[in-house]
């Protein structure tokens, strides 16, 4: 377990989620990220109203990410055994929160509020 190359890391994630689900998730994440950059460039500014709304989704994203990983690995909150476990758990929650915020922001900007309509 000493050499952790990028290739191994990919293999690990394929193992966690299964290759199909993993690559579908990678593609979905990439598409959402691209769409996010697209709306940022299109609008030339960040919309703080949309950002506020996106923030509301963050706790949900955090919880969903944690539950998803636990479900995939036969784990539970009672399995947290030390500081490193807590750090991993929080890391997963943060990733879920940020992912949810980006998703909601992008969705909002693309489909709900066209630029120009909202006040900055």
């Amino acid at each position: 377990m000493k050499e952790l190359t990028f290739g191994t890391l990919i293999a690990v994630f394929e193992e966690i989620f299964g290759p199909t689900l993993f690559w579908v998730m990678v593609i979905v994440a990439a598409v959402i990220t691209l769409a996010y950059f697209y709306v940022l460039i299109r609008d030339r500014a960040v919309s703080w109203r949309k950002f506020l709304r996106a923030q509301l989704s963050m706790p949900f994203g955090a919880v969903i990410a944690v539950i998803f990983v636990q479900k995939m690995t036969h784990s539970n909150f009672s399995d947290i055994g030390g500081p490193i476990d807590l750090i991993i758990l929080l890391g997963i929650a943060v990733m879920g929160a940020v992912g949810a915020a980006i998703l909601v922001y992008t969705f909002d900007a693309l489909f709900l509020q066209k630029p120009g309509k909202q006040s900055e």
């Binding site: 377990m1 190359t5 990028f6 293999a11 690990v12 960040v46 995939m72 690995t73 758990l89």
Partner: protein, 437 residues
């Protein structure tokens, strides 16, 4: 506000670019040494984890060598998965792949059992009578499970009448769960054994004990009487780990019985007989997990490559414990379970042994010397419950050798160690047998 966001966005883009660079540089970051031209004939006996990993690495390092691997088994078994299968956490197919899928394309695979080794004549005879001459021989045969040594036991008992044995293979591990799963619901007396011989993954009998106890308790089964039968006065070969296990058993109300070695089983009466210091002891059971005695396959055990006077005649190859080179035949190496070394019958050990054999073999071909040395490194993500494990790593000196000191404590039951076992281990194992890690 907008200014600060721009800064963040720049930072974010920078991060993304960095990640991209890492992605591009990642797999090829370490430059491989130039291959060596040779006409050497190398025979590898066994296409398990160690043999396959070595064949892959040698075929990359050598140009023009004739590499032959001899193994009749069409299926490759990911054995670290057996514990998970036998606890109902993974299906049998989780551990099964095809041997041929892992082997390099430019080698010869003889899908036959090796019948005889002639180290003086530098040749191997296969079961069908083929003679395969070699310049270098690598023993990677693995070991055999000697179920015949347990009186009254038949393979078809596994999965029925409260008998399990997860070592026997992926299908038997799944059958083991059929019996163990019933026990987790019905409760009663559970007896978990281990042999008195050297064995592969000495942690596996303990993992099974912990997992079945955990699953039974979580499903609300009371009336549990779980017993672990140690073959000597310790629970594990490494004293500090043995002590930790003693404490865990205390907390979990698992009763250790020392110096109890399974001798025979009466499946009809559900009675197990143990050889103890005070003669035979009979114990009734509702669930019995059997780990049979283990020894070298006959092809090595009956050859000149082992010393019949050592290892109780179990036939492990007589090699130097640091170089893994044979003590008397300097063109013969042993890697993996077959090596007669005091520790290291695990896939993690194979991962550390393979590069050592590779370096010495290549140095010998090139006419140089290598100082590569195997220090007995063994690792075992010792599962203590579904969701937690202790990542224990140690060497010949019984020293703990944690890979992530200060981050992943070796004697603590952690979720991250469980994640490593359940999700990261198979990926690293696969990378290892491809020769990549």
């Amino acid at each position: 506000m907008s200014q600060s966001f721009n800064a963040t966005r720049r930072g974010f883009l920078g991060f993304a670019a960095g990640a991209g660079a890492l992605m591009a540089a990642g797999p090829g970051a370490t430059a491989a040494p130039a291959p060596i031209d040779t006409k050497a004939r190398i025979v590898v006996l066994g296409a398990g984890a160690a043999g396959t990993a070595l064949a892959n690495r040698l075929s990359r390092r050598l140009n023009g060598a004739t590499i032959t691997i001899i193994d009749p088994r069409k299926e490759h078994w990911y054995q670290p998965g057996f514990s998970l299968i036998a606890a109902g956490l993974k299906p049998a197919k989780y551990s099964v792949s095809q041997t041929g899928d892992w082997l390099p394309k430019d080698i010869t695979w003889i899908a036959e059992r090796a019948a005889e080794i002639d180290p003086d004549g530098n040749k191997v005879m296969t079961e069908s009578g083929k003679t395969v001459p070699y310049d270098f021989l690598v023993l990677a045969t693995g070991l055999v499970l000697n179920y015949g040594a347990i009186e009254g036991f038949e393979m078809d008992m596994i999965g029925k009448n409260g008998i399990g044995s997860l070592y026997a293979g992926p299908d038997y591990a799944a059958k083991t769960w059929e019996a163990a799963g019933r026990y987790t619901e019905d409760g009663g007396v559970g007896i978990f054994t281990r042999p008195a011989t050297e064995m592969k993954c000495a942690g596996a009998p303990l993992k099974h004990t912990f997992l079945i106890d955990d699953i039974a308790r979580k499903s609300g089964t009371t009336k549990l009487d779980i017993n672990y039968m140690a073959h000597n006065k310790g629970l594990f070969g490494v004293p500090i780990i043995s002590e930790k296990l003693r404490m865990l058993f205390g907390q979990r109300e698992i009763t250790p019985h020392y110096s109890h070695v399974l001798k025979s089983v009466d499946a009809g009466k559900k009675m197990a007989t143990f050889a103890t210091e005070n003669g035979d002891a009979e114990m009734p059971y509702d669930y019995l997990h059997i780990v049979p005695p283990q020894q070298a396959p006959d092809v090595v055990r009956n050859s000149a490559l082992t010393d019949p006077g050592s290892w109780g005649g179990r036939g492990w190859a007589t090699v130097d414990k640091h170089t893994l080179r044979h003590n008397f035949f300097d063109n013969v190496f042993a890697v993996g379970d077959i090596a007669g070394v005091p520790k290291g019958k695990t896939a993690a050990s194979a991962k550390w042994q393979v590069p050592v054999v590779e370096e010495h073999l290549i140095a010998q071909i090139a006419g140089t010397k290598s100082d590569a040395s195997y220090n007995g490194y063994t690792s075992c993500p010792l599962i203590t419950r579904v969701g937690r494990a202790m990542l224990i790593e140690f060497d010949y000196n019984n020293d703990l050798t944690p890979s992530f000191p200060g981050v992943i404590a070796p004697l603590e039951e952690l979720w991250i160690s469980w994640l490593m076992k359940e999700v990261a281990l198979k990926a690293t194992y696969n990378a290892m047998i491809r020769g990549d890690a």
